[in-house]
Amino acid sequence: MDKQNDINDKFNREVEKRLKSKLAEYESRVREEIQRELQKEAELLASDEQKKEDERIESGKKKEIFYERFGINFRIQHIILFSCTIMLIVTGVPLKFPKNSVSQFAIGLFGGAPGARAIHHFFALGLIIIGIYHLLYTFWSSHGRKDFFELLPNLRDFSDVYNQIRYFLGFRKEKVKYGRFSYIEKFDYWAVYWGLIMMIGTGLVMWLFQGKFEPIIFGEINLAWGPEIITNYVHAIAREMHSDEALLATLVIIGWHFYNVHFNPHKFPMSKVWLTGKITEKEMKDEHALEYEKMMKKKEDNGD
């Protein structure tokens, strides 16, 4: 029996021994596996965080602060105004230079003088309507009223012109600080005001003298009483003013307004404010420092 027991013991021990060594082997393998898994997880986690960090940085860059300068209503008014003005210039100014080949081409595009006249009358109607709408806007809209008062010229504008020229020439180191509207913008606004009154006024006189008005889609509008009140002499005066003011307005728009909003090296190819209505914080600080300061002060006051 002893012999038999011995053999059994030996066998068992051998089993034990092999089991242990094998288990150890498995254990080490599983351990390695777990370690690898953990490492991978850690790496993934790290890269995720990196990504999030990157995104955060990027979005932080994009998230420059914009300030709304013109509301949608005002922007649409501007778009209608300039569309009408461009078409009126294209169909009107060539008449002042009939011998010029560019004029001949431009009027040819509209099928000669009668076509150009019908299109001119159509956009003239557009200009009259947008002019009246803007008047109502400045009275009834709180934005319009506020901007209207901001646009009124004051003594400060004259000192601004003086200081701006000193800055241009290098006699003044720091930039001139402007409010919501600089003297340039005030000039633009009142130039358009003057232009609209002149052009619409004299245009209506010519229209009444003719006794008819033919904007393309509305056919012919007849006002037979027109010639009863307008004499040929008054018509001639209106025509002279209409023609002269048209040339002045065209030159100011192309030479002055286009420089300020398109060809100016800081704006080229164009200032997008007419589309988005927004300007960046930098532009706000550069061009409308006083308005910015006022805004910040208001914010602080509200915050407190």
Partner: protein
């Protein structure tokens, strides 16, 4: 070669040769003298003038009309064609018998001689090429029996050189030539300012028919190439009415064409518009009269009616104020000052704005340079 050498060496033969040459030269001389165009044509013309030299030589047509066949020899002798024969022009008449020649004689074709580089030395001209495009030639092509050819205007046997007439005589003659067919227009023209100046005051500055309509180039007034076409007429009138040289004599302003060009009518015309007023729409065509003439279209009593042709709403207001207005002339009243005001307003505004733009650019360029350093 050989025979000539023999002849030259032989004295007798040489003598005969010399006589021969002499005879040959003399015979050529005599022959050419006999055949000189003057002698020849005179002989031939004498033959034709046996019949055509009689003043009462006429032909009665079947329809009863009478055709003059008399050729005035004294007029022909004074014409530039005095030295050529009847046959040179009437080249289809080849046979003349005791009973005369063939009945249906062709019309004379002047271009038989008058073309460029012609060998007979007829005055060279390319006018007949211009004439090909004219309304008269187009009518001839259509077979219009009344349409004129060269001799209808220039004359046939009584043709005279243009240079032999003074410009006054020429202008008067032209009106009479055109009046042969266009008699109604002649009657209207004669009483117009142009016609009365020409006929009553013998003024050679006024236009007669061809000055406006062209000579050989004459076209219908509705042909775009015509000098009196709706969009071209102001330029044709302007040849005189824009000329200071002509108009300073009469104390009339020569800026009428310029002021028309700057009016809406003139502008639209320059863009090819035909329905707007041109010179003739207001002033008339052949019946142009001075403003103080009660029959004038632009007499204050008639002007509303004249404007009313195109502007049905025209009323007395249309007559208040000048039509031919020059804003740069002091006598246009307030318009002169308005025009001046806008001129200076534009110049000053653009000057100041340009300075502002340039200062802005100057500052920005300087700033950029400072940054790049």
């Amino acid at each position: 070669m050989r025979s000539i050498r023999i002849n030259l060496e032989n004295g007798k033969l040489m003598g005969i040769f010399k006589v021969n040459i002499l005879f040959f030269i003399i015979s050529i001389f005599v022959f050419t003298k006999l055949n000189s165009p003057e002698l020849y044509s005179q002989n031939q013309n004498q033959k034709c003038l046996i019949c055509h030299g009689k003043p009462d030589f006429k032909l009665k047509n079947d329809d009863g009309s009478v055709k003059q066949l008399f050729v005035n020899d004294s007029l022909l002798a004074r014409s530039p064609h005095s030295k050529i024969s009847c046959y040179d022009c009437h080249n289809d008449i080849v046979e003349i018998t005791a009973f005369g020649h063939k009945k249906n004689v062709n019309k004379v074709q002047c271009t038989r001689c008058h073309y460029e580089n012609n060998p007979v030395g007829a005055p060279e001209t390319e006018k007949y090429l211009e004439f090909q495009e004219s309304v008269h030639q187009l009518e001839l092509n259509k077979g219009n029996p009344n349409a004129p050819n060269c001799q209808s205007c220039h004359g046939s046997h009584d043709i005279v050189k243009r240079k032999s007439l003074s410009s006054l005589e020429l202008k008067k003659k032209i009106t009479q030539i055109c009046a042969k067919c266009h008699l109604d227009i002649y009657a209207v023209y004669k009483n117009s300012i142009h016609g009365s100046e020409l006929f009553e005051k013998n003024n050679a500055d006024v236009p007669s028919c061809t000055d406006c309509h062209g000579e050989h180039t004459i076209k219908k007034h509705d042909d775009p190439l015509s000098s009196v076409y709706e969009t071209k007429i102001y330029g044709t009138c302007g040849e005189c009415h824009a000329s200071e040289k002509i108009f300073e004599k009469y104390g009339i302003k020569s800026d009428k064409i310029k002021t028309y060009e700057s009016s809406y009518h003139g502008i639209a015309v320059q863009f090819g518009e035909k329905t707007v007023a041109n010179c003739a729409s207001c002033h008339g065509v052949h019946d142009i009269r001075p403003q103080d003439d009660p029959a004038s279209l632009i007499n204050p009593a008639n002007i509303v009616k004249t404007c009313g042709k195109c502007h049905p709403d025209a009323n007395a207001n249309y007559t208040m104020g000048k039509i031919h207005l020059n804003p740069h002339n002091e006598d246009s009243g307030s318009i002169y000052y308005i025009s001046g005001f806008f001129k200076w307003l534009t110049l000053i505004t653009i000057f100041l704005l340009a300075i502002h733009v340039m200062l802005d650019l100057f500052r920005k360029l300087k700033h950029k340079k400072a940054l790049t350093k």
